[in-house]
């Protein structure tokens, strides 16, 4: 059974903004699924619909086979949500926030206390349980929201940018925690702006742009579509302009830095040979950006071009 099945999901807000334009999406049970997209693409609207904070205009959503139009209460019992922004009472104690949330799912207080201890300990917050939530650091608040979302042990965990503004060390420890939860059988849907995060965690990915899914495939499959990488070369001596390296496209960034685009499958030795011929000494070399990030930008640009083309065609038709 699929964890999530979305068919032709549409959302138009009162201000006529068409946020989702017929989204079809399937997430398999046990998947670690990444939903990527630029700001305003429709990610949060989609998540809002899944957890009932946004009312869909049309379309069908099933969570573990339960249609949200038929029995949303049952569907909600299977979902845990970690929203993008802090949405707990700043004045309540950490333990009270988690135990209260368990109560909303019908978990009796003694069991809720056990679960709260389990998840607060796992997320390193048990020592802070008696503190008011406002006293926690930003990273701790994020972890508190994860503990709160897990206290009823949902089958589907939805995380909307869970590591935004979190330092690298904490981000990596959260990744380990999420991997463990996923390994234990919880299906995870993650939205993130850190594409390194998606590449590292997600088995499957969908890219949403302007309310439409423009790519939906496995992370591996997506990365094989990357046909070009950009490398940054730090030079020993400054150059005044970009050298002509034949088949390699070179950008002159500043005196001692060059960016060279290299097609997939092309031998890197050739680049070094060409640089050697020009008597250019290389001190170090690195990838310009994360591989997925590069692909992401290409896909969004392609989508923009397609949309402009479609608009132009429409204009021509109307002109006739």
């Amino acid at each position: 059974m699929d964890a999530l099945n979305i068919h032709q999901l549409q959302k138009t807000y009162n201000n006529k903004f068409h946020a989702l334009k017929g989204v079809d999406l399937t997430v398999a049970q046990g998947d670690f699924f990444g939903l990527l997209g630029p700001n305003g693409a429709g990610k949060s609207t989609l998540i809002g619909i899944l957890c009932s904070l946004v009312v869909k205009t049309s379309g069908k959503v099933e969570i573990f086979g339960v249609d949200i139009d038929q029995d949303f209460s049952k569907a909600k019992q299977m979902i845990g949500v970690v929203p993008q922004e802090f949405n707990f009472s700043q004045f309540e104690k950490v333990i009270d926030i988690v135990v209260t949330q368990a109560g909303f799912y019908g978990i009796p207080r003694p069991l809720a206390m056990q679960r709260a201890e389990k998840y607060l300990t796992k997320l390193g917050l048990w020592e802070k349980r008696s503190q008011a939530a406002r006293m926690l650091s930003g990273g701790m608040k994020r972890r508190l929201m994860i503990a709160r979302a897990l206290v009823h042990e949902p089958q589907l965990l939805i995380l909307d940018e869970p590591t935004a503004g979190v330092d690298i060390e904490l981000r990596r420890s959260l990744w380990d925690f999420l991997r463990e939860i996923n390994k234990q059988g919880t299906t995870i849907i993650l939205t993130t702006h850190y594409l390194e995060e998606a590449e590292s965690l997600c088995k499957n990915l969908a890219i949403i742009d302007q309310g439409q899914i423009i790519k939906n495939t496995s992370t591996k499959e997506l990365l094989t579509q990357l046909n070009q990488e950009t490398f940054v070369f730090d030079l020993q001596d400054a150059l005044t302009q970009a050298p002509d390296l034949g088949i390699y496209r070179v950008t002159h960034c500043d005196g001692k830095t060059l960016e060279i685009e290299i097609d997939r499958g092309v031998n890197l030795n050739g680049v070094f040979k060409a640089l050697e011929e020009k008597n250019i000494k290389v001190l170090s070399m690195r990838n310009k950006v994360n591989r997925l990030e590069e692909l992401f930008v290409h896909l969004l640009n392609d989508n923009k071009v397609d949309n402009v083309k479609a608009l132009n065609e429409k204009a021509v038709v109307h002109g006739k």
């Binding site: 809002g48 904070l53 909600k76 929203p83 949405n87 700043q90 949330q101 909303f104």
Partner: protein, 264 residues
């Protein structure tokens, strides 16, 4: 199978209801300096100034000393104000801090959310009412004429104003919006609702005008429960409060269902 499913959901809703009520009670107890002490001090001042100092010069009213006459009205005034303000500030804060989403994303039904907040408001209204009653015993002797009427009218009034507070909170978009109704509607209606005087003292026109004020009925019904005297028919008061409660509950439930100010 279907019965089991329904039983299970009923259990979920019952635990959720208890959770909301407990959280509401914990909230007003946590900030007792803001929620419990100020009404007690205000009412003690009323007792001293209107009851003891000025009241002794006013003489009897409705066959009782002025102090005895105003005590039921002041208890009712504190119940009305506190049950209203508990729900309006708690629910608006939950909207403002967005922790209302904790409930919205969970399986809790709108009926349970509304009932939980209302009972939380009733708990504060009754807690303050009990404190004010105890305080009043330092100033006068109180006898209870009709216990059932007294208890049921104070409970129903607390329910009604907790519902009104909830509706105000749903519409409110800023902290100013939750202060407007208590300041410009609730306080004048309470002061003109027979708390400090019997409407038999007013000219006929103002007696009729006073009878359009619903708070007059609640104050007088409560006074009837305590002292056994009232300016109005107590049965009217019960009927009116119950009708208002039914309409307010249905309207608040409709607002929650429509997602007004909560869902987009």
């Amino acid at each position: 199978m279907e019965n089991n499913k329904s039983d299970n959901m009923n259990k979920v809703m019952w635990v959720a209801f208890q959770t909301i009520v407990l959280r509401e009670i914990r909230r007003f107890l946590r900030i007792w300096v803001q929620t419990l002490i100020p009404p007690a001090i205000t009412m003690a001042l009323y007792f001293v100034i209107f009851g003891s100092l000025i009241g002794s010069r006013i003489g009897d009213m409705g066959g009782f000393s002025y102090m005895q006459f105003v005590v039921p009205g002041l208890i009712m005034m504190s119940v009305i104000t506190n049950s209203y303000s508990n729900v309006v500030s708690s629910f608006f804060s939950a909207k403002f801090q967005r922790n209302v989403e904790e409930m919205l994303v969970s399986p809790v039904s709108n009926f349970v959310i509304l009932s939980g907040f209302v009972i939380g408001g009733v708990a504060r209204g009754l807690a303050v009412g009990a404190m004010v009653t105890l305080l009043s015993l330092f100033f006068t002797h109180l006898q209870v004429s009709h216990v059932f009427i007294m208890c049921s009218i104070v409970f129903l009034t607390a329910v009604l104003f907790a519902l009104a507070g909830f509706i105000n909170a749903v519409y409110a978009q800023s902290f100013d919006d939750i202060a407007i109704i208590p300041t410009f509607v609730l306080t004048p209606l309470t002061y003109l609702g027979g708390v400090f005087y019997s409407i038999s003292l007013l000219p006929e026109f103002w007696q009729l005008a006073s009878k359009l004020n619903p708070i007059l009925y609640m104050v007088n019904a409560f006074r009837y429960g305590v002292l056994g005297v009232s300016d109005i028919n107590v049965a009217y008061a019960f009927g009116m409060i119950i009708i208002f409660i039914i309409f307010a509950f249905a309207f608040a439930l409709h607002l929650l269902g429509s997602g007004k100010g909560l869902r987009t």
